[in-house]
Symmetry: C2
DNA sequence: CCGGCATTAATCAACATGATTGAGTTATTG
DNA sequence: CAATAACTCAATCATGTTGATTAATGCCGG
């Protein structure tokens, strides 16, 4: 018989165990397009109005959606826009950078509630661990209990293979940061490549005009990327998808040999600070670096488009907005000059998040785990499996 | 209440409208791993034994599965292996090649039942249309009515942008072969790039040891490819995914400038016939071409692996097995010599289908449309949508 | 050598979930 | 007050789940 339309997750409406695909779909539509009434949700999802009623009832009971002010003035019954409830869930994000570690508490609407950071000569496992553990503890202690139990997890954005950066960081080899933190924190810990999290941040919190498929390249001390297919961030079997920095480019090099802040620092002969204020790059050098980087970026963008049929490339990075704009435009020009018979050249645009992308993306890891649509569909009832398909 | 466990598709068990995801999953498991009893299906799919009982009952009633001889001799109740029913469904495939057009009727088990071909100086729209229409008609007329209505569709494997091959083929511009054929045939017509269909053929009918994600490169007159992610062939928003021939390689060229039979023909100064028997290539020239092609292939393989995190590259082509083996091995060597910091180099193996890959893949288009698992999961009940997600 | 028992495959029966449809309710415009 | 639009209620349906049951066999002790 008709299921009792009650919240099926324990009493307190705190869903620590994720959402159904259709609930995720509803949440992501509202996240991307802003508050909307149930009728619009029904149209956009293709679900029946009744199904939307049921799902939204649960989402509201769970504290994830808020019914807004009734909107009158149009023909027919007034509409009730549904909006994300900022307090619905909270997420911790930890970003490990070349010079800067950051920890943030991000709410369900994508706002940074609390932020701490620490500058270091280089990231060391022990220091990072302490920074994260103490920071997370302090943040949790400062929250009222009702809020505290809405913290869904911690996401870590870190470059892979930190030990390749230099001998000082050899300690990272074999250091299981995520596991260690999971042992001392009362929620799950997710870890992902920092450039990939930047892509995820753009997908979840960023521009609202993104297509279902695109590539995202993030230029920081090194360069990396993320791949979005069918609206979902691809991880790949070894969680290494979007490793654009490792993509080969002409000259026996890889993308990150050219399109990375490290390459710029080599040109100017000293390191750049981890914020825009100290960005002192002679224009001539910046111009030359941009030209070099753009060639490499265009090559990688075109390769990606040929392989995966992508209409768009998003370029972002840890640099001042002006530099990013120039890099993006230079890449678009370089792309236009490349031979591309047989495919459409993707559009090239810049990302909207800049230096916060990785940190937001880190917090986005637990968010995605619980609330982002997975692959595609959704059906209805059962716990579909595909265990061992394709051996 | 419990649904009546009856075949829900009209009387004759001829499902012209496709299968549920779980039915597709069951069929694809049996297709890949051979006949297996229900208990194994339950394990592999993760579904309950009861669900398998229900689904297989329907599949058998629909004529898609056959219960085999009961196997005794082990402890416990004897097992009933379930096998694909070769007559369960039939598919037409049309391959348009540089010299050769082929049409085949392929059964549900992947066997070619009937085959016709036509050699031409170059493919012309009118001739191809007539060849396909008349051939399909003749094949259908020769089938008993019961078989005839099991033909699920026609798939066309063709290079894109045929008009770029030369002025003789300008007529292809604007010629809607699929639409024209759909008008005169009693079933749907699917069209896809020929190299991509070759990939699909390997996925559906080919090697049983393929991982869930891999790239497939097919070297014919031109070169192209296909991309398999999460066990499903990716098409992409403009149905141009896997356009590996268009992938840029060093030297301001594209893959198909090097790794294509056309490049080999330029070296030997004349065209090669569309079959192995006439393959007369001086060893020295073949060696030089393989070296050049392998460099380009390795570059494309590594680019793909960096982007999508792929553990495997499959190389196949319209060439003698020995040449293909040499090309594959040369590619593996070239790949090993490339810088690949930050990613794992994919394994490189050769495909199993050779010259028949495109034709089988053409027939595989309607098969996949009806019977291959889509993306991933599967839930249970409803008609999940994701209509406009991601605008 | 035979009969009980563990083991495995498969089905039956009951139930749960989450979608659908169609009818009805409410609030508003014109 | 009719038309319209947003939403809900009630009933139905498809498809999954679990637990109990039936079937067929090898193993093994008496």
């Amino acid at each position: 018989m008709p299921a009792k339309p009650q919240d099926s997750r324990g009493g307190r409406g705190i869903p620590r165990q994720g959402c159904s695909q259709n609930e995720r779909l509803i949440l992501s539509l509202i996240r991307r397009h802003g508050p909307m009434p149930r009728a619009v949700l029904a149209l956009r999802t293709g679900l029946s109005a009744q199904a939307i009623t049921n799902q939204t009832r649960r989402l509201i009971a769970a504290g994830l959606l808020d019914a807004g002010e009734v909107v009158r003035g149009k023909v027919g019954q007034p509409t009730t826009p549904l909006a994300l409830s900022p307090d619905g869930a909270l997420f911790l994000g930890l970003k490990i950078g070349r010079r800067l570690a950051e920890l943030a508490l991000v709410d369900f609407a994508g706002q940074i509630r609390l932020h701490r950071q620490e500058i270091h000569p280089y990231p060391a496992p022990g220091r990072i661990f302490d920074f994260a553990r103490q920071g997370a503890q302090t943040i949790l202690d400062g929250l009222p209990p009702a809020m505290r139990e809405r913290v869904m997890g911690l996401g870590i954005a870190t470059p892979y293979r930190l030990w390749d950066w230099g001998r000082e960081m050899a300690d990272w080899k074999g250091f299981d940061l995520a596991g260690r933190l999971a042992d001392v924190l009362p929620f799950p810990v997710h870890l992902e490549n920092d450039a990939t999290t930047a892509c995820g941040a753009e997908l979840i919190f960023g521009r609202t005009d993104l297509p279902r498929d695109f590539i995202h390249i993030y230029v920081a001390h090194y360069a990396g990327g993320g791949l979005v297919l069918d609206g979902a961030l691809r991880h790949g079997p070894t969680r290494n998808a979007g490793a654009l920095g490792s993509m080969p480019v002409p000259g026996g090099r890889q993308l990150l040999d050219h399109a990375a802040i490290a390459a710029l620092e080599r040109r100017i002969g000293h390191a750049l600070p981890p914020d825009d204020s100290g960005w002192s790059v002679p224009d001539e050098i910046e111009r030359a670096w941009i030209a070099e980087a753009a060639e490499a970026l265009a090559f990688a963008v075109l390769s990606s488009a040929a392989l995966a049929d992508l209409p768009l490339a998003v370029i972002d990075g840890a640099m001042p907005a002006r530099t990013r704009t120039r890099l993006t435009e230079a890449t678009a020009r370089a792309l236009a000059a490349m031979p591309a018979a047989g495919i459409d050249r993707p559009r090239v645009i810049q990302g909207s998040l800049g230096r916060t992308a990785r940190l937001l993306g880190a917090a986005g890891l637990p968010l995605a785990h619980h609330f982002q649509p997975d692959g595609a569909l959704d059906r209805s009832k059962a716990p579909l499996r595909l265990a061992e398909e394709c051996a």
